[in-house]
Structures are given as C-alpha cells and as structure tokens.
C-alpha cells in the first residue's frame, strides 16, 4: 500500500501568512535602502499631512495658555541675554558671536512624534543643512538639524533618549556629559564633591554659552563617587511652535 504523506502545518504561519512574511521582509529591505540613500523622502511626503494636524491642535489652545507660553519665552530670553552679555563682557570683542539664522514653524513635535524629533517647515531651499544648531524662542538650544529636504527639515533634540551632549555648569564651568532621557529631560553625572546646587543652569556651546536646562534634583549616594543630576529643560518641547535655525 502506498504510504501517504501529510505536509506538517505551521503553528503560526499559514500559506498566506508565509507570503505576508516574504512581502514584509522585502518591504523592510526596500525601506532600509530608501532610508539610507534618501533619508528625507518619507518626511517630505508626510509633512503636508502633519501640517493639517498641527493647524487643528493649534486652534484648540486657549488664550490663557498662550499668555503663559509667552511669559516663559520672555523669561528664557531674559536669561539667555543676561548670559550673552556676561560672555560678551568677558570676550570684549575678541570673538564674533553674531550669527545668521532663519525662523521656522514647527509642524510636528512630541508627543505626536516619538524619539524627541521635531519637523519644521523650512529646508535646504532656505539654507538649512544637517548639523546646524537649533534654538527655541528665547535662544535656548534644543537640538540639531538631522536631515534637510527642500522645504522641510527633521530636528533631533538633545533630549532624545540616550543621546549624549557635552556641556558645563556652575561658575567654575564644570564639564558635564548630558544624556537625553526623552520628553525634554536630561541626566548627567558629576563628581560628588563638585559644587553644584539645585537650580544651577546647564550650558551647551553655541554662539556664546547658551543655557539649556536647570538642575532640579541631585541624587548622591554616600557610597558612590559620583552624583546624578536631574535636569529640567528651560523650554517645554511639547508646546514649541517656532524654532530658530542657525545658518552655516
């Protein structure tokens, strides 16, 4: 008698399932290639749709909230200018700190976007190029341009989880490596005996020294030689509507 053979059925993937897996693998490969060789393609295509979402959400912000945001911007501007004056007095014209910049409207920001990324409505046509510094209103640095398409740019914020940025704090300019925590926050480790107090401003290099955040908590363990600084951003990245992009 002729033995009958039965094909073993996969526990998870039926025949159409296998086709879907094959398509997914090919799709992922294609996406990877496009993303590698043309990084601005996807956000150029999706930016107009994000603009619609931004317009809808902007119309829902109350006048009271707008006034609070404006107050915060003025406060940051004041802090930034005070620091700039202090630096200029030290430099006394030995270094040119003037810069050329463009103001860009934000079309997508956290929490709409993951990874602490911001999409803006200016691009390479306006002179924006990858790697240039981006500041929020009040001159507070928030990140760098990661990719620039013709009319749009993607900004990677300093606070992206795991991203490291060099900076300093205190009157003695103690160097710190800021590590992004996501949602605008940072942490940094400093020697435990460093004279840093809660409320100290953290600076990053830019045209002059720019405050980026302030220390809100210091976690120091008696058995550890280092203390961990919990840093709150000076700018609320969830409500930023315009950014200033320094042109090269």
């Amino acid at each position: 008698m002729k033995p009958s053979y039965y094909r073993r059925r996969s526990a998870f993937f039926s025949s159409p399932g296998r086709v879907a897996v094959a398509f997914s693998v090919v799709g992922v490969g294609a996406l990877f290639l496009i993303r590698s060789f043309w990084p601005s393609l996807f956000f150029s295509l999706t930016s107009p749709l994000f603009s619609i979402g931004n317009a809808v959400s902007s119309s829902l912000v109350s006048e009271e909230e707008l006034r609070l945001i404006a107050d915060r911007i003025l406060l940051n501007e004041n802090t930034s200018l005070r620091e700039e004056v202090k630096e200029l007095k030290k430099l006394l014209g030995s270094e040119d700190v003037s810069s050329n910049a463009v103001i860009a409207g934000v079309i997508a920001r956290p929490p709409l976007t993951p990874y602490d990324v911001v999409l803006v409505g200016v691009g390479s046509d306006d002179g924006v190029s990858p790697g240039v510094l981006v500041s929020a209103q009040g001159g507070v640095p928030i990140g760098v341009v990661e990719t620039a398409a013709m009319h749009h740019a993607r900004i990677a914020l300093f606070s992206s989880a795991g991203r490291k940025t060099e900076g300093w704090t205190g009157e003695e300019k103690i160097p710190v490596t800021l590590e992004g925590e996501g949602a605008g926050a940072f942490i940094a480790e400093v020697p435990r005996d460093a004279e840093i107090s809660e409320g100290s401003l953290i600076y990053v290099p830019g045209p002059g020294s720019r405050p980026i955040g302030k220390v809100v908590r210091i976690d120091a363990d008696a058995s550890s030689p280092v203390a961990t600084l919990r840093i709150e951003p000076l700018v609320n990245i969830f409500s930023v509507t315009q950014v200033r992009i320094e042109l090269p």
């Binding site: 526990a11 998870f12 879907a20 997914s24 799709g27 992922v28 996406l31 496009i34 993303r35 996807f42 956000f43 999706t46 749709l49 994000f50 619609i52 979402g53 809808v56 959400s57 929490p111 709409l112 976007t113 993951p114 990874y115 990324v117 990661e146 993607r154 990677a156 992206s160 795991g162 991203r163 490291k164």
Partner: protein, 88 residues
C-alpha cells in the same frame, strides 16, 4: 457589523492617528487594528521609523520592534480565539 467595515475603520483610525494624535495612542490603535489585520502594527512601526528615526550611537528603532511585538501578540491572540471557537 460587516467585517470589511471593521477592517476599514480600525486600519483607517490607526493611520489617521499617525498624523494627528500622540504616538502612544497610535500604538494602542495599531494593536487594535492588528487584531483584525495582524501585519498593520509592523507597517505602522516601520512608517514611524521611516519618518522619525534619528540614528546616533546607541539608538534603536523602537517603533519597528514594538510594531513587530504587537503583531506577534495579535497573531497569538487570533490563534487562541480561533482555537477557542473550534473547541467550543
């Protein structure tokens, strides 16, 4: 309700959410949609990474991984429900 309408509404809401709502909500809607069409969560995860992922030392394409995880979970749930329907 018609199965086609359920598919259209669930996938459509997940895709619209990508452009209008915070990403945690999109994650929830994608998982809901992937119970109807399992691969939709992977697609949305890949879309997030294609548009937003920024590469630097130590960065991981979390959205794609979460999407793949959600799809796998949805597949498991679907298999479990089918098995329950057959045995009952």
């Amino acid at each position: 309700m018609n199965a086609t309408i359920i598919k259209t509404v669930s996938v459509g809401s997940a895709l619209v959410s990508f452009f209008l709502f915070p990403y945690p909500l999109t994650l929830v809607l994608s998982f809901g949609a992937s119970l109807v069409i399992p691969w939709i969560a992977v697609v949305i995860g890949l879309l997030y990474d294609a548009v937003f992922f920024t590469s630097f030392e130590g960065s991981v394409p979390t959205a794609s991984l979460l999407g793949a995880g959600a799809s796998f979970l949805a597949l498991l749930v679907r298999r479990f429900i089918k098995a329950r329907i057959i045995t009952s």
